[in-house]
C-alpha cells in the first residue's frame, strides 16, 4: 500500500493580500481627494468689555485715535491718526506709531498704549484689518515686532 506523504503538498498559509491592498488604496485615494492646502490663519485679539460705570478710567499713556474715512463706496479715503492725515499710506502710519511708541520692552495685553479705531460704517472690513496690521507691529525677517497690543473700537458711527 502506498502512502502519500503529506509534506509533498506544500501548505499555503499566506494571508490573502488583495482585499487589504484594495482597501488601502481606497483609503489613500480618499485622503488624497480630501486633502486641501490652505493658508494658515491667525487672530488679532480685541478685548472689549461693555462700557459701563464699572469700567475704570483708561490708563493709556498715549491716546491713539485712528480715524478711517470711507469714500462712500467702502474703500478707504483717508487715514487720520490723532487728527494728522496720512492719506492712504499705511507704512507712514506704522512709522508714526513706531516713533510714538518707541522701542519699549514691548506691549502686553494689559498695559501699553491702546489704539482706538473709529471707522465709517460702510468701510470694508479688509481696511480695518489693514489698520490693525499697521498699528500692531511689523515683520522684520521672520520675527514680528510688536508696537501696540491693545485695540478697541470707538462707538459706532451711524450714517
Amino acid at each position: 500500500m502506498k502512502f502519500r506523504h503529506k509534506s509533498t503538498q506544500e501548505e499555503k498559509n499566506e494571508l490573502p493580500m488583495t482585499p487589504m491592498i484594495d482597501i488601502v488604496f481606497l483609503l489613500l485615494v480618499f485622503f488624497i481627494m480630501t486633502f486641501k492646502i490652505s493658508a494658515q490663519e491667525g487672530d488679532f485679539n480685541v478685548k472689549m468689555p461693555l462700557q459701563g460705570d464699572g469700567t475704570p478710567v483708561d490708563n493709556t499713556q498715549l491716546p491713539l485715535k485712528l480715524r478711517l474715512r470711507s469714500n462712500g463706496g467702502g474703500d478707504l479715503q483717508e487715514i487720520l491718526l490723532n487728527d494728522r492725515s496720512f492719506g492712504t499710506d499705511w507704512s507712514q502710519v506704522r512709522g508714526y506709531v513706531a516713533s510714538l511708541v518707541g522701542d519699549a520692552s514691548g506691549p502686553t495685553q494689559d498695559e501699553g498704549p491702546e489704539v482706538e479705531i473709529d471707522l465709517d460704517y460702510d468701510l470694508y472690513y479688509v481696511h480695518v484689518i489693514e489698520a490693525i496690521t499697521a498699528v500692531t507691529g511689523y515683520r522684520s525677517g521672520d520675527e514680528i515686532i510688536k508696537l501696540v497690543d491693545r485695540i478697541k473700537f470707538a462707538p459706532q458711527r451711524k450714517n
Binding site: M17, F31, A39, G42, D43, Y121, Y124, T133
Partner: protein, 144 residues
Amino acid sequence: MRFRKTAAPAAEADLTPMIDMTFQLIAFFMVLINFSQSEQNDKVILPTSELAKPVDVPIEFPIIVHLTSEDAVVIGGDKVDLAALRSRMQPEIALLKLEGKGPADANIIIRSHRTAPGGRVQDLINRCQELGFEQFALRVKEEI
C-alpha cells in the same frame, strides 16, 4: 526511474515595500487632513495680514461667528439674524455656566468676509457685548 515533480516557481511580486509605502502615505494624509470643516465657510474670504500667526495655545471656549459676503451671520452652520443672536447664544452661555464659567471667559472668533462693512462687524461685536462677551478675535489669513 521516478521524477519528483518540482513545484512551479512562484511568480508573485514582493508586495511588502509597496504596502509599507502606501501605509506611510495614508498616515501622512491622515495627519494633515483638516477636520475643522465647521470652522470654514465658503462664503467667507478672509482678509490677509502679514502679521497673522497661527495661535500657539488653543483658544479657550471658542465660538466661531462668520460674517459672509451676503451679509449674513452664520454660527455653527445656522444662519442667524443679528436680532436673534441672543436666542442662538443662550445654549452656548448655558454650556459655559455649566462649566463654572461665564460669557466673559469665552472667545468670539469673528471670521468676516473681506468686503463686509466694518460697521457690521462692530454691530456684531456690540450685540455680543450686550450678552456679556468680552474677548474677541478677528481671524485673518496669513499673507503668502
